[in-house]
Amino acid sequence: MDARVSAKIQDVFEEPACEHNQNKSAKEKKKGCTKQLSPGAAAGGCAFDGAKIALQPIVDVAHLVHGPIACEGNSWDNRTSFSSGSKLYRTGFTTDINELDVIYGGEKRLFKSVKEIIEKYDPPAVFVYQTCVTALIGDDIEAVCKKASEKFGKPVIPVNAPGFVGPKNLGNKLGAEALLDYVIGTEEPDYTTPYDINIIGEYNLSGELWQIKPLLDALGVRILSCISGDGRYKEVAYSHRAKASMMVCSKSMINIARKMEERYDIPFFEGSFYGIGDMSETLREIARLLIQKGAPEDLRDRTEALIAIEEKRAFERIAAYRPRLEGKKVLLITGGVKSWSVVAALQEAGLEVVGTSVKKSTKEDKEKILEIMGQDAHMIDDMTPREMYKMLKDAQADIMLSGGRSQFIALKAKMPWLDINQERHHAYAGYEGMVELVQEIDKALYNPIWEQVRKPAPWELATASI
């Protein structure tokens, strides 16, 4: 392996702020998060996918994928990370290497590609993503990027996370490392305020950031940089001037939060925008950290006042659904979203969570689930599709909330399903988001199609006269 990549991977695995890691032995730690995948029974994206997920939401950058057509051609413009400005991030750039490049090396094509992009699109920066084949043939993307930066006087940033070094979450962290190594701290903001924060690990899927931003705006808190949702290259480059950071749970970019604390003395907390309680906790933490760093004390009271009103409004609106949703059973299979933070909102609407996945949860998460759901919390470690299908078919649940991958398990069982993962089309963040979630559940449960699609065909009715 490229020595630089392996050093980075070791570094990321030894992440002290990762709870997963703290509970591991030294030897386990060395092995890191790359569980040996089981051939023929594996699913999930590669490290390159993870790095791209983490960085592509920086909207004004040209994201260039160095590799054969598989990596970009099969996947470009397929995410719902929204932009309020530049659309350049949705342009698919790839070197699309051919057989000759594999034999003679693809560095020349890469350099020329960067040149073409700068001439045609003039972005503030070009990010170059390494992939499996080009890593295997030994293309040195760091060297090419360095040369191109010098030649064109523009940041050309290597993102060295070829697919085969590990899964998506490792790629998130390697992408984050590229920002730490090459971007953060390279520019200065025009001005700063005592209310400047960074939000780290938020990708603005379906515009969720915009469900949160009005709350912060109202409090006078400025998002100096969101890494990376609706982000601009410049904002990331001067994010080291923030007073505090919020790290959006999921741990996908914990290394940025922790290293920025270390390097620039920016304290951070881990929070979530999902669930009413979590949203309020997040606002409180932001206020607390900013005050700790010198913001005026009245921020605390203003925050509490805002929380009181917003919570009341949200709960009232959710409670309105109670008569319709009371006692309905939910199967909650989440990947990125922390399940317990959603459970509270569901319970508020009278829904009963009959099972929740804990595959990616930490010990602390599991305790929290027990606390909220009581001793009979049905925690599912790893459910096969067949088991999920059976559970739905046997009507042990009325609706499944999960990611797109398991969508058809529910639909083919003729049961309502709601997308709560990455590709979802609805925004579920903040107070507004939770109300929307409950609304969507209601909409799904009460759609008249369920009765129709479950109805037997006339020729299936033994006594029918037809």
């Binding site: 023929g40 699913a43 099969n74 290497i97 051919n98």
Partner: protein
């Protein structure tokens, strides 16, 4: 006749192309009770899976040998062995169909050799499951090539020479651009001549959007092994799309079944040819239903030609789909002024347009803009270009992720052609330019004459004839227009 060239850019921008192994695995999905698998790192499978799920809105069976850096360097024998055993144990499919990827091809894995070893070791365990392998490096060819290679491999692996011919049975080898609806339509047409078709691969069985009684991890529906083994007994093979000719040829070599390649089945003349051929083959007349449909198509052509005639088309598609679309546009009086495709093919040079470029959607967009194209035909990724060009995008081909009903789009036969041209005409009709008061300004010369001023004799006034419009005239024109201001 078109001149075919390749884009000279180093950087592909907005890819039109998808990878070979994905095309191969897509073909494998048309086999019954099959588990397709990419031999490579997990990400390739994950991307392919997401793409097809978003296109079909269906669960897609697709596995990976989950190669990592170390196993790549050591060779993939162990991973393939484990994967095959794992799949056998969990899903017990009739087929495990493997496509290689760029990674394992760069390393140079000898998968055929590995499979022999695996069979020797686990022959008993694997009984009842056939394994087929196709070599499809990502850095060569495109989706269409992968599909074609996979079907050829399947033919080589399972078709057998049969002693007796069944005069009622024919083989149908559809290209990757045919939808489930297209295949169903052809099956019906063939049946109307008293013939029965064995379709390989048959995605109309597996990816047509049905609701199975039980959950299965493999494909459900598609060509069965028994059908593949009976292909040798057919009286003829119909290959649809020129990329299917290699598979048809391979089938003829193995079993002696003669073949006929239909480059396309969209367009009046193309469908007439199919009908004539089937009628001759079966000795049956064309059924009344299709005679009526032919009349309906002719009528639709008469109605649609007002809207399609002389309109400028920009088309981005894989070679055989591009050919079907370009010919149909041409036959309706349209002009294809921008044509971009993914991979070389013998059909390209004969297309009725000036130029075909093997390139990307950026190339298509630039050409469409330069030549003032009025309608864009390509897959869903054309949506950004269509927005910038402000012309309608008719989503055609795969992936179609931002619309429903991809498997039910019908483009073949009289009925399919009718639907296609009607759809085009409707979009052009909707995007039609509404005349405005200022659309027909008089030229400067007429204007001056009407105002009682004589234009300079030496100039046409506008420079439009090639002369240099005289400055004095320009002055008088400015003066005039100032005069006209209220």
């Amino acid at each position: 006749m078109a001149s075919v060239s390749e884009s000279k850019k180093a950087c592909t921008v907005n890819p039109l192309k998808m990878s070979q192994p994905l095309g191969a695995c897509f073909a494998f999905m048309g086999m019954d009770n099959c588990m397709p698998m990419m031999h490579g790192s997990q990400g390739c499978t994950s991307f392919g899976l997401v793409l097809l799920v978003r296109h079909f809105k269906e669960a897609i069976p697709l596995q990976t040998t989950a190669m990592n850096e170390v196993s790549t360097i050591l060779g993939g024998l162990e991973n393939i062995e484990q994967a095959v055993l794992n799949i056998k144990k969990r899903a017990n499919p009739s087929f495990i169909a493997i496509a290689s990827t760029g990674l394992t091809e760069t390393k140079g894995d000898d998968v055929d050799g590995y499979l022999k070893l695996i069979h020797r070791k686990h022959g008993e365990t694997l009984a009842g499951t056939r394994i087929v392998y196709v070599s499809t490096p990502d850095y060569v060819g495109a989706f269409e090539d992968g599909w074609a290679k996979a079907v050829t491999c399947v033919v080589d692996a399972f078709a057998e020479p049969c002693e007796a011919r069944d005069p009622q049975q024919i083989n149908l080898l559809p290209g990757c651009h045919l939808t489930a609806a297209d295949i169903d339509e052809l099956r019906e047409i063939i049946a109307s001549f008293g013939l029965k078709a064995i379709v390989l691969p048959d995605i109309s069985g597996s990816l047509d959007g049905h609701i199975p009684e039980n959950f299965t991890p493999t494909t459900l529906g598609g060509t069965t092994l028994a059908e593949m083994q009976r292909m040798g007994a057919s009286v003829a093979t119909l290959a649809i799309g020129s990329h299917m000719s290699a598979a048809a040829m391979a089938l003829e070599e193995r079993s002696g079944v003669p073949y006929r390649v239909f480059e396309r089945l969209t367009g009046l003349g193309a469908v007439d040819e199919l009908m004539g051929y089937l009628s001759e083959l079966s000795g049956q007349p064309v059924a009344a239903k299709y005679r009526r449909q032919r009349g309906q198509l002719q009528d639709a052509m008469l109605d649609a030609h007002f809207w399609i005639g002389s309109r400028k088309f920009a088309i981005g598609a894989e070679p055989d789909l591009l050919a079907a679309l370009t010919w149909t546009a041409y036959e309706m009086g349209g002009e294809v002024l921008a044509a971009v495709t993914t991979t070389p093919s013998p059909v390209l040079a004969g297309l009725p347009c000036a130029e075909v470029l093997i390139g990307d959607l950026e190339d298509l967009e630039t050409r469409a803009k330069a030549s003032g194209c009025e309608i864009l035909l390509t897959h869903s990724h054309g949506r950004q270009a269509a927005e910038r060009l402000a012309i309608p995008l008719l989503r055609t081909g795969l992936p179609m992720f931002d619309r429903l009903g991809a498997s039910h789009v019908l483009m073949v036969g009289y009925r399919g052609t009718r639907e296609l041209i009607t759809h085009w005409a409707n979009s052009l009709l909707e995007a039609e330019h509404q005349a405005k008061p200022e659309d027909w300004p008089l030229n400067a010369e007429s204007l001056a004459a009407a105002r009682g001023m004589s234009p300079p004799a030496s100039s046409c006034g506008s420079g439009g004839c090639g002369c240099a419009a005289s400055p004095s005239h320009e002055q008088s024109e400015t003066h005039l227009s100032q005069e006209l201001q209220p």
